[in-house]
Symmetry: C2
Subunit: 344 residues, 2 copies
């Protein structure tokens, strides 16, 4: 498949497995001519599911989609170490291997996050100058979107870790958004220099000299107000912040639904306002942001939410394709190498 972007997909991962992943793959193939997909998983299961969904793998997308057999599955509760040692023929591991062997340029999985990160680190290795990879995602904001990292890969971080996350986030935003000198902020609890815990103070001191557009401390509400392009934090804070956001959004939807179904009048109002409410809902649709990047690895690894539907999983594949096209790991490698040279 020359000139194509080849994505290896862990077709057995996530809450729904091939039932969601196959239609999502087809959806991407339909829309993007330059994409080829390798579905990794149990050949019999995948073929049967393709039949059941009336997807003709040898038909319309011949030459652009194929199945790579893998006999094992990493379960959601498997420890990363166990997945690495005991499940060498899992759909997740084989998909990662395909990237390592150059047969694909990126891997997408909705499986166990810890096992995916652990296996990817073990097989693909981290880039020079990166001590720990970080999980980064795109979050909607009032003016567009914000990149945020780390979202849970590293719960106990050093200032140096956050420094590396900031560099990676800056390179990512430059590459995928075509932004020059993206604004990078460090998540803190006040913009005054005196506030903050020991970790952010240490990271702030390091970032003052970083060759990026570091704008200093930002606060939780800056994730959403468009004041910053990249927000850096440790994985514990990032994960809490993201889950908190989901909770607020769900509660607001819940209250809105309650009010619009309270009585005859409000139901009528809901009917009339339906097109507006739909347009509104599509703007905060979390599925449109599904797909987190494991940055700092030698190749592209995208984690889909386990509960993603077809629309959501297709979005994760599209993010993988975009990062291949924009050569994100190569850019991070180049930046880290130039930093390492300077420090010699």
């Amino acid at each position: 498949m020359p000139d194509q972007v080849i994505i290896a997909i862990d077709a057995m991962g996530g809450d729904f497995g091939p039932e969601v992943i196959l239609p999502a793959a087809v959806r991407v193939l339909e829309k993007q001519d330059n994409v080829g997909i390798i579905l990794v998983g149990d050949e019999a299961v995948l073929s049967a599911m393709a039949g059941q969904l009336n997807i003709d793998l040898a038909g319309a997308y011949a030459g652009r989609i194929e199945i790579q057999h893998a006999s094992q599955i990493v379960e959601m509760h498997d420890e990363p170490a166990l997945a690495i040692r005991k499940k060498k023929d899992s759909s997740m591991r084989v998909a990662i291997n395909m990237v390592h062997e150059g047969r694909a340029q990126a891997v997408v999985s909705a499986g166990n996050t810890g096992a995916l990160m652990g296996t990817a680190k073990f097989v693909l290795k981290t880039l020079p100058g990166i001590d720990r990879p970080a999980i980064s995602t795109t979050i909607p904001s009032m003016t567009g979107h914000t990149h945020m990292l780390d979202l849970g890969a590293n719960v106990d971080c050093s200032g140096e870790n956050l420094y590396q996350f900031a560099i990676m986030g800056s390179v990512l935003a430059e590459a995928v958004d075509n932004v020059d000198r993206p604004r990078v902020g460090l998540l803190n609890i006040g913009s005054e220099a005196m506030k903050g815990n020991a970790l952010v103070k240490e990271a702030d001191a390091l970032l003052a000299d970083a060759p990026i557009n570091y704008i200093g401390f930002v606060e939780g509400d800056d994730i959403y107000n468009g004041n910053v392009d990249v927000i850096v934090c440790d994985g514990f804070v990032g994960n809490v912040s993201l889950k908190t956001s989901e909770g607020v959004a769900k509660m607001i939807s819940h209250f809105m639904k309650q009010e619009f179904t309270r009585n005859i009048y409000s139901k009528l109002a809901a009917m009339i306002a339906m097109p507006v409410l739909k347009a509104f809902r599509s703007r905060i649709d979390p599925r449109a942001y599904n797909g987190a990047s494991m940055l700092g690895l030698s190749s592209i690894v995208i984690k889909s939410h386990g509960g993603a539907d077809v629309f959501g999983f297709a979005n994760a594949i599209k993010i993988a394709v975009l990062e291949v096209e924009k050569t994100v790991p190569q850019h991070i490698r180049a930046r880290m190498e130039s930093l390492l040279e300077k420090s010699l």
Copy 2:
């Protein structure tokens, strides 16, 4: 003023000072017969503002409201140590002194959070068994509300600190909500015991034996879904989580406004849906939750948001009154003393 609940108010604090605080005090006096208020601040300024707002302090509320002169003001950028040493006649300090002297049962301030906490600790002292006070607030949830602490008083915590926060939060929820054995959760990034940073693992081990209804780890979305009554975290995480929530809510409002003003049709829909939208908005009105408790001090100290309006500041006063009526510090003291006895 016998049988009354007397609240000392730092009348010079916050972004708007007496212009907001005087009408808020009057609003509470109108609605709650048993409340008396001492306005602490510059006598000339307060009298002039009362005149300007047509508030007759000697009239309708005679005997229930008075002015206590204080010549200084703590500024928003003042360091706590400076406020304590150099501003002994500030409205904040004098209001706290009145509680210390037994002339009022609680203090409310919209001023500098660090100075308020520092001065309150210095004058009122912490309760036995409490190493550090924590800031707690009430947050709306799908089924009612959740108490969350700490929200920023302690950015670097130990497991023992979180343990004490959990006890205080449990006692607070029991007292003000009349709930028996409120569910107390520890904020983490996954409910599996293996996840989490060093701090939450340490706190979790301590809480396993705590004489409260400790339900284990909860996640960011549990703040809003009604699964838990009290959420415990360090001040850094709590503050980020709260600010993040504000950011999401503001973005959602912004998008909703944009969609409902996009064209003639959507504007018409907005007009028809207005009563429903208003009812919805009142359910997530942050002003209705204004007023954070500094728990762990010997007396009640309530911090209002600096930018609170009359409705919001009045709510902070009402929280102070409720905590006096429910004798919150006495309950925390009793619980801590019984814990200390057991550990001897």
